[in-house]
Subunit: 256 residues, 2 copies
């Protein structure tokens, strides 16, 4: 059914990459054909899946430069149902170049078109700012998934994102939906969690996902070993959290 | 003595802003005349110090647009020895404009020149990417302070930053020093902490600061109340960590 979901929020370090990687792995574990695309020049998705430079035949960088087609940079992963397109930005000059090329807001839409029939889910990880690659991804997605961790800055990031979504809908993607707001690195019983929960209930209740991902060091540990959590520790609370998230989202996408 | 310190690493959410704000507050508590500059369009420093739009007379945005001088956008804070220049980027179009203006790498150097005699420390908070404002800040700083939290991505961020510093030294700022690498949100006894510690000792031993900031929820709580940690909870482990950091740095800057 080719549902394209962008993972985005213009705040750093709230679990965008961890969510993109582990949600993709969870969909794949449920035998949904899944493609993960790293649209963040930082390349953290590659690190999370063990894609060192030697294992990388090319990525989004080459595609945006018309050197390779998208099909040529699709990599198989250790999970049968998960494919991966790296960012493959190997130098600061390449990052500048990719940012400039992504000013063309239809770049990603054009190259994804042919892929959509081949996958049930296409997930796109993005950098912690809205312009360029993130706007590109949002412009061609069916929905956006918004991770956030408890705290004042995260809430401000959610606000900023939602204002940006209004502009995206007006100018590029009228039907862009919100998959939901996902609370990550969740630590119950803290005052900051209580304050954040209250704010989310007040202002974003209808978008708040039932699933929240607990703070769980195994999720960080897995990335040191270049494996998604499900292959590193199948029963950690972090792994189970993302499986739960996949179930919640698939439940809403079920064909009637 | 006007030491300009940029707080930077191209990885999100590792405590750049929390460090900029609370180190600045700690220097001020030690009666060093301190200026904090928010060079991140996100505006998290403003949030951390309680500077709502009504309390903001202008900021870096106006200065880069030649609407105000730096002196006109210096704000007093609740701490006698701490002044503050907000980013004051109020709209996405303003963010694009500020990024374009900051392609001129000497912008910040030019406007800081007159301020240097008036302060002992000038701290600059930056966004989680290297180009634009961060390069501007690094090009005119005496040193860079590099926060990181345990994890594979943070270590990669340190590597990326150090490569960028080489380029900065060659092209814009020959004498740029490394103030040090600061471990933040530190949680002893975790496997990921052990792996990160080992990697830092192996590759960055001479840059690793003695002080590390413990994971401490009061630091996040303080930002909800628009106060630096020292005014919110003077004895929390987070507050004491940043006072300790200020002592360690001042000890090295002591006039012989
Ligand atoms: N549920 C969790 N529990 C514990 N640690 C987590 C959890 N989720 C993510 N982390 C860790 O927090 C750090 C930041 O996460 P991540 O890099 O996924 O955030 P991000 O939003 O993609 O950051 P950036 O904005 O820099 O791209 C990583 O080291 C990651 O391993
Ligand atoms: N020592 C700590 N203990 C607990 N929480 C912390 C600590 N330091 C920072 N935090 C919290 O972690 C979150 C991220 O910190 P912060 O915003 O300072 O990072 P950053 O590097 O400036 O992020 P960005 O890259 O988005 O600018 C904030 O909510 C902050 O309150
Ligand atoms: Mg990321
Ligand atoms: Mg910040």
């Amino acid at each position: 059914m080719g549902r394209i979901i962008t993972i985005a929020i213009p705040k750093g370090g709230v679990g965008k990459t961890t969510t993109a990687v582990n949600l993709a792995a969870s969909f794949a574990a449920f035998e949904r054909r899944t493609l993960l695309i790293d649209a963040d020049p930082f390349g953290a998705c590659s690190m999370s899946l063990g894609f060192t430079p030697e294992k990388t035949k090319g990525g989004l960088y080459e595609v945006f430069n018309f050197v390779y087609s998208m099909t040529q940079v699709i990599h198989r992963t250790e999970l049968a149902f998960l494919d991966f397109v790296p960012a493959n930005v190997k130098a600061p000059q390449h990052e500048d170049r990719l940012q400039r090329l992504s000013e063309n807001r239809t770049m990603l839409r054009n190259v994804l078109r042919q892929l959509v029939p081949h996958y049930d889910y296409i997930l796109i990880d993005t950098p912690p700012f809205l312009r360029g690659l993130t706007t590109n991804a949002l412009s061609c997605s069916d929905s956006v998934l918004v991770p956030m961790k408890s705290g004042h800055f995260s809430l401000e990031g959610v606000d900023k994102l939602f204002r940006h979504l209004e502009w995206i809908r007006e100018t590029a993607n009228r039907t862009l939906q919100v998959e939901g707001i996902l609370q990550t690195m969740y630590e119950p019983h803290l005052k900051v969690t209580e304050i954040s929960d209250r704010e989310l209930q007040l202002r974003y209740r209808k978008h708040l996902l039932r699933t929240s991902i607990p703070k769980n060091t195994h999720l960080t540990e897995a990335s040191f070993y270049g494996k998604p959590a499900i292959l590193f520790n199948a029963t950690s609370r972090g792994t189970l959290g993302y499986m739960e998230l996949a179930r919640e989202l698939m439940g809403r996408h079920a064909v009637p």
